[in-house]
């Protein structure tokens, strides 16, 4: 599903260059559920943005769902985001003056789907996350957990092949976080690839595969020859970095 090779991403200001990712390789198979961990500034969100075609990289190649996306136009990348990728954010990122139905409708609108099909898909998605009865509510009328469930519905309503979740439980209590994880697992069971950034080791371990980032480089626990000692689920080498 995802094949990144030799990716380099540098953030430049007038005086400073920050290497967010360097010589970065990653391969994720279709239908996998991976969690991405690492200390703040390790490049987790940058990686997610690159995977989600929300940012560009300086070097390397990236094949998404068997399509080389390294040199696509903005329009082509938007199309891929719309058709193949669903996003879930830590702060939910619902549009405040659209009701729940219309928020879930946003990706389908950009797909040009007929109104009747959109309505069916949205109602199914809201039913899946248990919010069918709240479709006319505004985001501000929902709890944080409910808002994130709406965000999950918005992410999978179009049937994407890949869902990218950037700390989806970061603003939720443990009960609500587990609810969201249940939903993500359910979506993954249906064949959708899920990549989730999280700081919570317990949630990370619910994913069959975990990867850790440190200073823009990958430590893939599954592909290590020797087990890396963990402190509270975090590799020892990363614990000093303030994870």
């Amino acid at each position: 599903m995802i094949k990144m090779q030799g990716i380099r991403k540098i953030y430049r200001t007038e005086h400073v260059e920050t290497h967010a990712l360097d010589s970065f390789d990653l391969e994720v198979k279709s239908g996998e559920f991976i969690s991405i961990m690492g200390p703040s500034g390790s490049g987790k969100t940058t990686l997610l943005n690159l995977i989600g075609l929300l940012d560009s990289f300086d070097r390397g190649s990236y094949v998404l769902d068997d399509e080389d996306v390294s040199t696509l136009s903005d329009r082509q990348m938007s199309r891929i985001r719309n058709l193949k990728i669903g996003f879930i954010f830590q702060t939910f990122n619902l549009i405040p003056d659209l009701n729940i139905f219309d928020n879930v409708d946003v990706p389908l609108r950009y797909r040009g789907m007929p109104a009747k099909e959109r309505r069916v898909a949205i109602e199914e998605a809201l039913a899946t996350v248990g919010l069918a009865s709240r479709k006319k509510h505004m985001p501000a009328q929902l709890s944080g957990g409910q808002q994130q469930r709406v965000a999950v519905a918005r992410a999978f309503v179009g049937g994407p092949k890949l869902i990218l979740a950037d700390e989806p439980t970061g603003n939720l209590d443990s009960a609500m976080a587990n609810d969201i994880m249940d939903l993500l697992e359910k979506i993954n069971e249906q064949g959708t690839t899920v990549a989730m950034v999280t700081h919570d080791p317990d949630l990370a371990h619910r994913a069959p595969r975990q990867i850790h980032l440190l200073d823009g480089s990958l430590i893939d626990l599954e592909t290590q020859d020797k087990p890396v000692p963990l402190i509270n689920g975090v590799p020892v080498g990363l614990a000093k970095a303030g994870c």
């Binding site: 969100t45 929300l54 903005d74 329009r75 199309r79 702060t91 549009i95 946003v106 950009y110």
Partner: protein, 437 residues
């Protein structure tokens, strides 16, 4: 998608109604001023008889001072009016489809009964072809015929306002009306007719109302009528009688002919040249041969019916609209950029830059159209105020073309105001804002 983006635009405007109202008012003011100016220019420069303006020709012969042109700034131009003796000669031609000499005067009208006092009224002296060549519409009756021209027969045509004033708007054909010392039979009542500009005589108040009464030209010597308009002369002549006035070189009569094709036009041009060459032999018309046939639009242009001040006013008002639109750029930029996190989400969910650009441009155009609607309402008020200040009654109004022009201007203003802010917001990096919400 357009309907969706339109809905988003209205939603966005409702989010901050005060700011939205401010922007709409700013565009509205610009549209009001510019639409009023465009309307004035449009009316001043419009073709009053578009279906035949290219076959109606004003007749000019250069009958001015032998040593200097009539208009020193435009030496190629001839005087706009003719002398009575030249008119009498030119009216003998059989070449034109229609032809008329005409001038404006003022005569005393004596209504029947004691209810209304006698009054002076503006009268156009003309030939029967006047009504045919200028497609003058009739409410009742018709114009007079050639026989009435030649006799002349005591017949008149009155306009609808005069008919209302004297006969309460009823069909007055066949009724008599005393003018000067003679009774005339009304044979026609005009329907509403207000050519703008008044192409057949732009020498006096080109945007004023047409005359109230129309009388056969040949009553001119009978009543010893002189004109009530511009009179031009380049020489001093002793004039002690009306007959001497008619035989003088004083220029006071307009003449129009209808020539339907080039052959006819060339034949009439030859006729004019032959007449002037003949007059030269008699010691008249000493200037170089300069006989001109100007169609309606050329006549109006040469008479400079559209004042320079109107052109300047048009330019200034359009610049004012541009300034109003430019002032909105900063407001829209701030408003759009404050929405960057939402745009980041939309971009993540599949909106392309183009789609985001169009969405915001539509919002700007909605502001433009709302402002345009307000501006059109204001411009009606502005034009009504101008009409009240003009002594010759209502003449400026918004027609469908001008409403269309106002809406087009509002779209242009929306585009000017919105193109840069829309371009900026569609280029924000979505990744930067997604984490910041």
């Amino acid at each position: 998608m357009f309907a969706y983006q339109l809905r988003l635009a209205f939603k966005s405007l409702r989010r901050n109604p005060v700011l939205s109202a401010l922007m709409v008012v700013a565009i509205g003011l610009g549209i009001a001023v510019s639409t009023a100016s465009v309307t004035i220019y449009h009316i001043y420069s419009s073709n009053p008889i578009p279906h035949k303006s290219d076959v109606l020709f004003h007749v000019e012969i250069d009958n001015w001072h032998p040593d200097r042109p009539f208009d020193s700034d435009h030496p190629e131009r001839a005087p706009f009016q003719l002398s009575y003796r030249d008119v009498r000669a030119l009216m003998q031609s059989q070449i034109p489809t229609y032809q008329t000499a005409a001038f404006r005067t003022e005569l005393m009208v004596f209504p029947d009964g004691d209810e209304q006092r006698p009054f002076r009224e503006i009268v156009r002296m003309c030939f029967s072809d006047f009504f045919l060549m200028f497609d003058v519409p009739f409410q009742y009756g018709h114009g007079w015929d050639d026989a009435a021209d030649h006799a002349p027969e005591p017949v008149i045509v009155i306009n609808s306002r005069t008919n209302l004033r004297l006969f309460g708007g009823a069909n007055s054909v066949g009724r008599s009306l005393k003018i000067q010392d003679r009774y005339f039979t009304i044979i026609g009542v005009l329907a509403e007719w207000r050519p703008t500009p008044k192409h057949y005589d732009p020498t006096v108040n080109a945007f004023g109302e047409p005359e109230a009464i129309y009388m056969p030209f040949n009553f001119t010597p009978v009543f010893e009528i002189t004109n009530y308009g511009n009179t031009w002369s380049w020489m001093s002549e002793p004039i002690d009688s009306h007959e001497e006035y008619l035989q003088s070189e004083i220029l006071w009569i307009q003449m129009w002919v209808q020539l339907d094709d080039e052959t006819q036009k060339q034949a009439y041009q030859d006729f004019l040249d032959a007449y002037v060459l003949e007059q030269k032999k008699q010691g008249r018309l000493s200037r170089p041969l300069n006989n001109r046939l100007l169609d309606v639009m050329a006549t109006l242009e040469e008479r400079e019916v559209v004042p320079d001040s109107t052109k300047s006013q048009l330019v200034v008002s359009l610049l004012f609209l541009v300034v109003c639109a430019i002032n909105l750029i900063g407001i829209l930029l701030g408003k759009f950029l404050s929405r960057a996190p939402e745009i980041g989400v939309r971009r993540a969910l599949g909106a392309s830059r183009r789609s985001v650009f169009i969405q915001h441009l539509i919002e700007c155009e909605v502001i433009g159209v709302l402002g345009g609607s307000l501006g059109l309402a204001l411009s009606v008020m502005v034009l009504n105020a101008i009409n009240r200040m003009l002594s010759n009654g209502e003449q400026l109004h918004l027609d469908l073309t001008m409403v269309g022009a106002g809406l087009l201007l509002s779209l242009v203003a929306g585009l000017i105001a919105g193109i840069y802010p829309s371009w900026r917001i569609c280029h924000v990096a979505p990744a930067v804002h997604l984490k910041m919400q």
